[in-house]
Amino acid sequence: MTLHWLLALMIVGSLSVGLYMTGLPFSPQRLKLVNWHKWAGITILGLTALRLLWRLSHPPPPLPPCIVEAMPGWQLVAHRGTHLLMYLLFFAVPLAGWAYSSALGFPIVWFGVVPLPDFVPVNKEFAEAVLKPLHHGAAYVLGAVVLLHAVAALKHHFVDHDGLLDRMWPFSHQGHAR
């Protein structure tokens, strides 16, 4: 659960910084934000891999039966689909960004210290034509799915009053240690 909220903060932060920095003119501020964005992206990638491993060995508790019964079928499908898509994009967005940076000829040096390998060769045309739209497009979809996820969770809490959020809420006494 700690990882969920840490990643939530980092992902929303990275999406916002990404959106903001692309509009900035050439400046130290932009250079700083671009690098922070890259470092955050790589960190998200690593933490997501950790989290996925954790989930595979510690499956999350199933939805409470009363909530499952109350949900129409399409919502259950959407619930599974949203989570699957989010996990897919947690990997796809940073990986596409990493590839985009490498292909532009800017290898990523994690926190300015750890040089990361380039898994695509330098190719500026490919970077601009394929990897940039891929990274940006996937990031927009991720933003939309994260918003859907948050809205759905809030709906369960404030509209359905089914207490689903309690098990994820870090300050709740009912929260499961996860």
Partner: protein, 194 residues
């Protein structure tokens, strides 16, 4: 016959001038092959090595590798030809905080002493001028030769702030490092054998 005498005299004078000119230029000039030559620079942006190139430069190289002491090397770099390969950065390089190419179109190097250190390697001491600021430095150069051409390679590190490259908010070396590595490969024809 007397009519031809001044002509003859003039011809002799020209011949003498040519001979003395040939005797004075002890060192033959080598020719730069610009297409095959490269001058690049590597700076670090928040730890990320970023490579740039100068696309236009010229060199006058007059030295005999067997007795390098009498030789000279001069280089002029067209600063507006610098590129980092990214259009957004390239648009910034000619501006006053960086190279200020309007006021300082060329950077130059002029050798003051050349010393052989053996094995085709030479230490070339000289003055490097960038953006109107001059620094003394010693450039190590390695020369290799094939049938018809010589290749001079080397690299050295300079401090960009000593030349006021990157002014104002860009003096922050945590963004762009102070140290810049300059790498060169000059392909020459007409250089004497090592």
């Amino acid at each position: 016959m007397s009519l031809l005498r001044p002509v003859w005299r003039a011809l002799c004078a020209v011949a003498l001038t040519l001979a003395s000119a040939a005797a004075m230029s002890v060192e033959p000039m080598a020719q730069l092959a610009p297409g095959d030559s490269q001058i690049g620079f590597v700076s670090k942006q928040m730890g990320v090595p970023v490579e740039g190139q100068f696309k236009k430069f010229d060199a006058q190289i007059a030295f005999d590798p067997k007795k390098p002491e009498g030789g000279t090397v001069a280089l002029q770099i067209d600063m507006a030809s610098a590129t980092l390969g990214v259009p957004q950065s390239d648009a910034e390089l000619p501006k006053p905080p960086w190279f200020d190419t309007a006021r300082f179109p060329k950077a130059s190097f002029q050798s003051s002493a050349i010393k052989s250190v053996g094995g085709g390697r030479f230490d070339i001491a000289g003055r490097l001028t960038i953006k109107g600021h001059t620094q003394e430095l010693v450039v190590p150069v390695t020369i290799t030769q094939s049938a018809d051409r010589s290749t001079a390679t080397g690299s050295f590190t300079i401090q960009r702030l000593a030349f006021k490259v990157g002014e104002g908010e860009w003096t922050d070396t945590s963004m762009v490092g102070d140290e810049v590595q300059v790498r060169f490969k000059l392909v020459l024809t007409g250089l004497r054998p090592l």
